[in-house]
């Protein structure tokens, strides 16, 4: 266990392990997300209230789910950066922050598309929507701060402090639909409780969420590899790999 933890400090070792993991993540991710989407979009029953328009849920919920998880992961990596000064934690934050921003945007966009037929409006200043918008701004802030500081180590620690401060927003997003009586419906998807929707809708949704997580893992590793190559560009193993 501790050996594993220490090895994580070595970019070269991580590069190798990532290369071995990535095909699996990509393969299972494509199968799960593809299966979930095909099942959800083509075969799942219509909703008795919303008809076919509810089907965007199979994209909306996974992206919203992941947009928040990515921020929490970044905050966890921020703690690791501040406490153990581990380089890879910072590589992770730098690699996934734009991915998180895109996912947040995707969740907001699909939500708007879904809102038009069901609520009759593209946008409303509802608590859940507003707090997701704040999350998008927080991602922008993290990316901007990381780019503004030239020194790599200081940038890593400054970004870590900022992600930790911003993580206050996550519980606000999570509970906004319960604390405030607003337009957005309560969470449709909980792993801990018996689902409120029929199994034929719930299972493909679960598959899409898991599939997107795996694909995110693949993308994160890929972007981390790129970042590692860039940072270690003077190391011999990188030069050998590139020239080979």
């Amino acid at each position: 266990m501790w050996q594993f933890f220490h090895k994580l400090g070595s970019p070269k070792w991580f590069y190798g392990i990532a290369a071995r993991l990535m095909p699996w993540l990509l393969g299972f991710g494509v199968i799960l997300l593809g299966g979930g989407l095909v099942w959800g979009l083509a075969f799942a029953p219509q909703d008795y209230l919303q008809g076919n328009s509810y089907r965007i849920i199979f994209i909306h919920v996974p992206s919203a789910f992941l947009a928040q998880s990515v921020y929490v992961m970044m905050a966890a990596a921020g703690v690791i950066t501040l406490v153990w000064r581990m380089k890879l934690a910072d590589v992770f934050v730098k690699a996934v922050a734009p991915v998180g921003a895109v996912l947040t945007f995707l969740a907001l966009f699909t939500g708007a598309v879904w809102g038009k037929p069901t609520w009759g409006t593209w946008w409303i200043w509802d608590a859940r929507l507003t707090s997701m918008l704040i999350l998008l701004f927080l991602y922008f802030g993290v990316i901007a701060l990381g780019n503004a500081i030239a020194d790599e180590k200081s940038a890593a620690r400054a970004v870590a402090v900022l992600t930790l401060v911003g993580v206050v927003n996550i519980p606000i997003i999570k509970y906004s639909v319960e604390w405030w009586n607003t337009l957005h419906q309560p969470a449709t998807f909980k792993l801990t409780e018996k689902p409120s929707m029929p199994m034929e809708m719930w299972v493909p949704l679960l598959l899409s969420v898991l599939g997107l997580y795996l694909l995110f893992g693949w993308l994160a590793l890929l972007r981390m590899q790129t970042e590692i190559l860039h940072r270690e560009r003077r190391a011999r193993w990188v030069q050998e790999r590139v020239s080979a």
């Binding site: 503004a148 200081s154 400054a158």
Partner: protein, 242 residues
């Protein structure tokens, strides 16, 4: 035996770190230096008044609209003018090397940062609160709304200073610090804005405002206890960077 273990005895002065005198010195110095930089003291205040004046001119001078939107306008203007003043919360000290001395003090940096933020609030937040009733009358708020507006500003502007201190510390020494500071801090300001204006609107409609005030108070306590930690950590990062 005892002779071998002769350690320097702590004198009484070294025994107890003089925390309060140090904080008092920081407060006094900060207040003095902001009074001597008079222009910086007045700029955010003039900005506050001008932003408020833009709304009747730009949107609508009608009494009904202003009465409806007045509290929100004042809150947004207060928020923007706080942002404007944040940039030199640590900058002068940083450029003059005072900040490094502050980091080297034996007293906890948490308390020194706390004192600096309080000093900042005294010279930027308090004037805003004093100006608010006058501007409130200009946007046709009634007496009750003005009372609650001032109360929410009293609870909310320190939170703005505390959260802003984190951003100011993080962006210290960067080239385009001002715009980056706004980008980092505005998302964190939004809850304060929501509860601040929410209180006045609820009071206008005769609803209970206890929960709003409690939430604002909770934000204040959270900012007071946590933000100086984050700002102190950010200061250490920024100073070690230079």
């Amino acid at each position: 035996m005892t002779a071998m273990l002769k350690l320097p005895r702590l004198t009484r002065q070294q025994d107890v770190l003089p925390v309060l005198p140090a904080c008092w010195a920081v407060l006094r110095r900060d207040l003095l230096s902001s009074i001597r930089r008079r222009q910086e003291l007045f700029n955010p205040l003039i900005f506050f008044v001008m932003v408020v004046a833009l709304f009747p001119l730009g949107v609508s001078p009608e009494v009904a609209f202003l009465r409806e939107a007045g509290a929100g306008i004042l809150w947004v203007a207060a928020l923007l003018s706080t942002l404007l003043s944040l940039d030199h919360l640590f900058r002068h000290d940083y450029e003059e090397g005072v900040l490094e001395q502050l980091l080297l003090q034996p007293q906890p940096l948490y308390l020194l940062v706390l004192t600096k933020v309080i000093a900042h609030w005294l010279v930027t937040g308090v004037p805003l609160i004093i100006m608010a009733p006058l501007l409130g009358v200009m946007v046709h708020l009634d007496g009750n709304s003005i009372k609650y507006l001032c109360l929410t500003l009293l609870l909310g502007t320190p939170v703005l200073s505390f959260i802003g201190a984190i951003g100011a510390a993080l962006t210290l020494g960067l080239k385009s610090a001002g715009i980056l500071l706004s980008l980092l801090i505005i998302p964190l300001y939004i809850p304060v804005l929501i509860f601040g204006t929410g209180t006045v609107m609820a009071a206008n409609e005769g609803l209970a405002i206890g929960s709003y005030l409690a939430l604002l108070g909770a934000l204040l306590v959270l900012a007071l206890t946590c933000a100086p930690f984050a700002a102190a950590a950010a200061l250490r990062i920024s100073v070690s960077n230079s």
